[in-house]
């Protein structure tokens, strides 16, 4: 079973973080461990947080997603202890929650959590922004690749061995023609070879 730890200060079921969590958990054998990051530890705040979490539990239950929840005040030690207790997790998602200066001084920040835990740690904003930027996967255009590869082969196989001779006739003559010829060759070669090697990140699955 996978586990997502969701940290939020409002627990609004319509917020992107909760919607993403719900979508990711539904039908995927994933349970949610929710942390309500309360602004203070007053009785009233804790009571309100518990009521909000009850509503969230009902929503998750209705979708068949396991849910456990905890109310934690903005205290670095308590917070980190709770987070450690909930580990291991598959993902830590920070929704609508701002860490106070006291928390940051105590070593609780998004960057610090990323450093500390081996599982992915991200924010709702990062996910939303990435989804917004998401472009349709282009895949590999093999036709174009073959054309560029042939061009590159010609550059390195035919042109390169002749450069010594061409240096004396054009490229290293110190003339305007020589300067322009250099720029033209470089532009053509970089474009041809660059588009040939462009395939490599896709082959290594670093890009879609």
């Amino acid at each position: 079973m996978k586990k997502i730890i969701l940290i939020d200060g409002k627990w609004d079921m319509n917020s992107p973080a909760l919607q993403y969590t719900l979508k990711a958990s539904k039908g995927t054998d994933t349970e949610i461990a929710g942390i309500f990051l309360a602004a203070d530890s007053s009785k009233e705040t804790i009571e309100n947080a518990r009521n909000v979490l009850k509503a969230a539990r009902q929503a998750f239950d209705s979708e068949g997603v396991g849910f456990s929840s905890y109310v934690v005040a903005q205290d670095p030690e308590t917070f980190m202890k709770k987070l450690n207790d909930l580990m291991p997790a598959s993902l830590v998602l920070i929704g609508d929650a701002k860490f106070t200066d006291e928390m940051k001084k105590g070593g609780v920040s998004i960057e610090a959590l990323k450093e500390k835990f081996t599982c992915p740690v991200t924010t709702a904003e990062a996910i939303a922004a990435a989804h917004k930027e998401k472009k349709p996967a282009k895949g590999i255009n093999w036709g174009k690749f073959i054309i560029y590869a042939i061009g590159s082969a010609l550059m390195y196989g035919v042109f390169f061995p002749e450069i010594d001779m061409l240096n004396k006739k054009i490229f290293m003559t110190g003339t305007v023609l020589g300067g322009l010829a250099i720029m033209a060759v470089v532009a053509v070669h970089a474009w041809t070879w660059g588009n040939t090697t462009n395939i490599l990140p896709k082959l290594f699955k670093l890009e879609k």
């Binding site: 993403y20 993902l91 920040s109 992915p120 110190g174």
Partner: protein, 364 residues
């Protein structure tokens, strides 16, 4: 002095002589290109600080190493900028403003570099380039390292804002707003920085090491946008530099094409790395690598002084300095390239772990 004059005249054949003497040198240039390309894609600059001294270590005169590098910069930046542009990391307006005076800086550097080669030959040219390299990059490397160390002690801390605050005191009007970078910068400051970026690029082939830190620390531009904009700027500076060095007959295209052989493979991995790897790691790699390359250049200087008959050195010491210089340069380049590739693949694996949970994007 006759030898020196002969070296100056023989610039057309010097690369042929190096390749004929040791064909493995060509593999060395390709390897330099790969390391430089990976670094360049990753930190927005940095290819040249490794490739220029690397070629000099392989026997290429300083002025020709710089001219090959700046010519190579043109095409490499063209492709790198395209990749960063796809990620939305390029502020073209900022690049164009900086370019205005960078072109003048490059022209000035070409004249000075050419002067040293013509007057003092291969060793004199290499000495000038090395001295300039050590002087400027030791300051930049130290500042970057200090700042990266501070960020590692205080997780979440961004780049130091001391210079940014200082530059705000010199916000001479008019101020220009740059939308992608989301900063306002004084036109005067922009033009001054542009000139220095151009002069450095023209002198040692390294413009990004003023350009990128200036954009981050003086203008307050986010690191990834600074890296992408620098590549965009480098494309035009490279074209102008290539043309100017071409006018003096210093560009040997064999070196350029061999550099491309490796760099345009590495640059894609580096550029993808910026999208996946933490900003602190990017700054840390940059700083340490600059300082190691400075050490390498310091170790290379005695050989040039010996060739110019300024100092005396026994053969054993000269060989030790030469080997030390190569080990520092190639060793640090290989380690840094390996780290970048390792972090990139590791971050991708982490992203895939999130993908399995239905979170296909936004995981860092």
């Amino acid at each position: 002095m006759q030898d020196i004059a002969a070296q100056a005249i023989d610039k057309i054949n010097v690369v042929s002589q190096i390749f004929d003497a040791n064909p493995w040198t060509m593999i060395g240039v390709i390897l330099l290109g790969f390391m430089g390309g990976t670094l360049s894609g990753f930190i927005g600059s940095g290819g040249a600080f490794l490739m220029t001294p690397g070629m000099m270590n392989l026997g290429v005169p300083g002025v020709m190493a710089v001219s090959a590098n700046i010519t190579h910069k043109f095409g490499k930046a063209m492709m790198g900028s395209k990749k960063h542009g796809e990620f939305g990391h390029v502020d073209k307006k900022l690049g164009i403003y900086l370019l205005a005076t960078a072109a003048i800086g490059i022209r000035a550097a070409v004249v000075v570099n050419g002067f040293f080669f013509e007057k003092l030959g291969k060793a004199g040219s290499s000495l000038y380039v090395s001295a300039f390299f050590v002087l400027t990059l030791s300051i930049i490397g130290y500042s970057l390292l200090k700042d990266a160390m501070r960020s590692s002690r205080e997780p979440g801390a961004g780049p130091s804002d001391k210079l940014l605050n200082l530059s705000r005191k010199f916000q001479f009007k008019p101020l220009i707003h740059f939308k992608v970078a989301n900063v306002d910068v004084s036109l005067v400051v922009l033009l001054v920085i542009g000139f220095f970026v151009g002069f450095m690029a023209g002198t040692i082939g390294v413009g990004g090491f003023i350009g990128v830190p200036a954009m981050i620390y003086v203008f307050g531009v986010p690191t990834v946008v600074a890296a992408g904009t620098e590549l965009f700027l480098a494309m035009f500076m490279g074209a102008w530099g290539a043309f100017n060095y071409g006018l003096q007959g210093y560009v040997d295209l064999r070196l350029v094409l061999l550099l491309y052989g490796g760099s345009l493979v590495g640059i894609y991995f580096g550029a993808i790395g910026t999208h996946l790897v933490k900003e602190l790691y990017i700054r840390m790699v940059t700083a340490i690598l600059i300082l190691l390359c400075v050490v390498s250049r310091v170790l290379a200087i005695p050989e040039y002084l010996l060739q110019l008959e300024i100092i005396e050195l026994n053969e054993g010491s000269a060989v030790m300095f030469e080997i030390g210089s190569k080990v520092f340069l190639f060793g640090s380049g290989i380690v840094a390239t390996f780290l970048i590739l390792f972090w990139t693949f590791k971050a991708k694996a982490k992203e895939k772990a999130g993908e399995r949970l239905g979170f296909s994007h936004g995981l860092e």
